[in-house]
Symmetry: C2
């Protein structure tokens, strides 16, 4: 575990730098130094700075696939009861990953930077392989839970509001923590957030209005 390949070390260091400072601002020298290697290792392993960027995107996609595997990619028939249970499980997973997960902060930061550049090649990659299929799967489950058509605008938007709530607690973490009087995100904080999100989820899916 302590001995990692230079390639993996570079990706990890780049994720942090890219996330914190942005792609252009992050210097390859600093990344290489963080990884404990030479600048030209980046050219060797990834062809250049841009290749390292794409490698980071792939790493993010891999990680999120792990979290999102609760959402089936193929349509399955679910009872409303089981659909709601699946959604609850997913909310717990998202919170655990985004709030407690190691490296989640850096990964979210990285994705965020890419989001700010709507024509980013990284964004294109992430959307097609990750966002689109997972969101569609979520809509199907949401549909099973509420009885509303899965591909209706309102269901799609409802799913976005669910995801948005979780994401916000990571994005605006400095603000949230300060306002809550929290020193950081740990178990009790994650529990409090989860509790609130599950209440919202229940309200949105349980009453037949969602």
């Amino acid at each position: 575990m302590s001995q990692q390949s230079t390639r993996a070390l570079l990706i990890r260091a780049a994720m942090i730098r890219f996330g914190r400072e942005g792609y252009e601002a992050a210097s390859t020298r600093a990344i290489a130094a963080d990884a404990g290697t030479n600048i030209s290792s980046i050219a060797y392993h990834f062809g250049g700075k841009e290749g390292l960027r794409i490698a980071c995107a792939d790493a993010v996609a891999d990680q999120i696939q792990q979290v999102a595997r609760t959402v089936p990619l193929v349509p399955v028939v679910l009872s409303p009861r089981m659909a709601r249970a699946t959604l609850r499980r997913l909310v717990r997973r998202m919170v655990t990953f985004l709030i407690l997960g190691a490296g989640a902060n850096e990964m979210v930061g990285f994705v965020l930077r890419e989001l700010a550049q709507p024509d980013s090649p990284v964004l294109e990659r992430l959307y097609a392989t990750l966002v689109e299929p997972r969101h569609a799967g979520l809509c199907a489950i949401w549909s099973a839970a509420t009885g509303r058509p899965a591909e209706s605008d309102d269901v799609k938007l409802a799913v976005f509001t669910l995801v948005g709530q979780v994401a916000y607690f990571r994005l605006a973490a400095p603000i949230v923590q300060r306002r809550m009087g929290w020193q950081g995100y740990s178990r009790p904080e994650a529990r409090a957030i989860t509790r609130r999100l599950l209440v919202n989820l229940e309200l949105m899916t349980g009453g037949g209005n969602g």
Copy 2:
């Protein structure tokens, strides 16, 4: 309207560059060029790049103050009915500003970049003058609407989930629009989003669970 001061032009150009590329990556040359002036004007008007950054933060604060003026800073007594009406009005305002408002994209991008640097001086400034008092005011209204204690963790978190939902539609705009099949954000799209958010708000505040 078409004739603006160099100072204002620089702030506007900087907001776009800072938001899109990040503070460090955005070059003062490009900003000056966008503003149609010389590099050294930045040093003249703002003392340097850092001064321009702070000027952008102040501009953001001013804009948001306009939107948030619906939320009273001083405690007022509100009936649950009127409190809910106030919250609905605020949701409409937020959507109008974030989704339709000119320059909102750039401003959000700018704030987002600062959020990624938790010890940013800009963030400190924005929190004290903007986030803290407005969030507290929102909690008070939320409390009036639901009967729950305003400074309880759950109310504070509930308010964050409300704000987070709106914010997400701006932050993840490229993803949302693509998934929804939208070409951009315009009136009909804003209405659809507003409708969903008002439903969520009603569920959270109306049932006595929020």
